[in-house]
């Protein structure tokens, strides 16, 4: 019996890619399939370094199409399987992940976003939001967690396996090149010691007993002969997704109740926005902070609530409106003014968010309070 990778908990200081590998081991993932692409390579490196010790598996495939399909295969065999990719690799992977959606396969995918379109940069972006939430020729029947810190990366990588296996939808952890490469402290832990039980896995194929006699036959399909047949299945899948959407959705927010303007952001950019909102509040600006943690499904009720109260919403992202489009769809009908700070493929600093808020007209100007004598 291999020893446990983590006993109890401990504070560590490491890169985000290393965090993901540790989290996958802690989550009792059994096999990783992958093809190298920067900036996620070290997830594979750390995973393969740990696997002999803990009796785990790894398969390097010939490309991301294959990595996606083999991950699906691992899941069909009942393994807690995952893969990791970025940029053009994420593009290729949409084909197998569409199949995972079609067959309700609980594959887990870590995405470390890099610049796009195409090869672009190996560094960073938030330009894989549309593709990760709605990619493939399907209906976006998937769960996407957007992480902001190394603690998030650890927590949500573990959670992704449980969400995937509980609800049977492909589940993504959406990070980025900054999170992949930077070092910061976090606490890693054995899930059980924090009261987290791993959802058990089970095989889709090769189950015991005679099909049709001892058990129901397994019917796995991604092909249909007639339109109505497909429609019937999709109706059920979409109903299943909608039913659990509010249960899955997560967000973080503060100071939104009396805010004239709420800054909306996700992922690593929310770190800049959080700091900016705190700084602006201290100076007397009535601003609030909202961060969807799940980009699919979004925290719809909370977003609509925020959009109903604030006069203005400022969407900040390292993409040209990919989050913005998702937000606008769910708050349709709100009269809040939509403002933006879009920097596709480039990091956003606290200073830039503060400056952007200060230039917005129509906000109550603080700092010039008249003292009545």
């Amino acid at each position: 019996m291999p020893e446990k990778p983590i006993q109890g908990e401990k504070r560590v200081f490491m890169t985000g890619n290393e965090v993901v590998a540790w989290a996958a081991v802690a989550a009792e993932a059994e096999i990783m399939y992958g093809y190298p692409i920067t900036p996620q390579n070290e997830i594979m490196h750390y995973w393969t370094r740990m696997l002999p010790k803990y009796g785990l598996g790894f398969l390097q495939t010939e490309d991301e199409l294959s990595a996606g399909f083999t991950t699906a295969g691992g899941v069909l065999a009942g393994r807690r399987a995952f893969t990791a990719t970025a940029g053009p690799g994420n593009t290729l992977m949409q084909e197998p992940l569409s199949m995972a959606e079609a067959m309700r396969l609980p594959v887990v995918v870590i995405v470390q976003q890099r610049g796009g379109p195409s090869t672009a940069t190996v560094i960073y972006s938030q330009q894989e939001v549309t593709m990760t939430t709605l990619g493939g020729n399907g209906e976006g029947l998937r769960v996407v967690y957007s992480t902001a810190t190394h603690q998030d990366l650890y927590d949500y990588t573990i959670k992704a396996f449980n969400t995937a296996w509980k609800y049977r939808f492909p589940t993504f952890v959406l990070g980025d090149g900054y999170q992949a490469k930077m070092r910061e402290p976090l606490t890693i832990y054995e899930p059980a010691s924090w009261g987290i039980a791993m959802v058990p896995t089970e095989p889709y194929v090769g189950r015991a007993g005679m099909p049709g006699v001892d058990r129901e036959p397994t019917l796995l399909r991604n092909t249909y002969n007639v339109e109505e047949e497909l429609f019937e299945v999709l109706e059920q899948y979409i109903a299943d997704f909608d039913k659990v959407a509010s249960e899955i959705a997560e967000y973080d927010a503060f100071d939104t109740d009396d805010a004239e303007l709420v800054v909306i952001s996700h992922g690593v950019v929310s770190r800049a926005c959080k700091e900016a909102v705190k700084e602006l509040r201290e100076k007397g600006y009535k601003v609030g902070y909202f961060r969807p943690i799940t980009l699919r499904p979004l925290p719809v009720d909370q977003l609509r609530d925020v959009a109903g109260k604030a006069k203005k919403l400022l969407v900040v992202e390292s993409a040209n409106g990919q989050l913005d489009r998702l937000i606008k769809e769910v708050i349709y009908g709100s009269t809040a003014e939509m403002l933006s700070l879009f920097k596709p493929g480039v990091g956003i600093t606290t200073e830039e968010v503060v400056a952007r808020v200060k230039e917005i007209k129509g906000l109550a100007r603080p700092g010039k309070l008249r003292v009545l004598r």
């Binding site: 190996v122 070092r183 770190r271 990091g347």
Partner: protein, 188 residues
Amino acid sequence: MAKRVKIILAGEGGQGVQSVAEIIAEAANEEGREALYIPNFGVEQRGGVSVAYLQIGDEPIGAPKFLIGDIVVALSDRAVRRTKQYAGPETLFVYDSGIENIENELPGNAKKMLGIPAIEVSKKELHPRVFNIVIMGAVLKASDVVAVENVKTAVERKLGYIFEKKPELREMNFRALDRGFELVASQL
């Protein structure tokens, strides 16, 4: 509570600025402080200007990168050109005084400019390979973010296996650290 310190280190690929940033960040973390270090990286494997962003404070660090550094260290002519944009009215700008033809490239808006002969000192008194350790000593004195002793522990952890075989390297590295510290101390 101490203010968060934002540091930029820039040099030629191979000068070791990333190692310096990583070791200081680890030492700060060991002290129980909050630290975040992020390297810049591109498609090239070697060459080009290498930039490290380092932040140390008492509260969890926000955005990994920033526009203006409290301390900006530039170790080559190209690094000076690349990093002068990070200088502001509160910035301490440290550069190697041996870099030629940069008089007109240095930022004009920094709070203080500090030219130190780190390349020369490491070459003449120590060994060119401990140049980055001299720089680390300089950064430690300039920033006052981490105790030198804790950095020595971090260096020991990283290079201890080499020091085991060649104890004289330990001495040289620690001397380099102290020399870097002195170079800044004498000018502040």
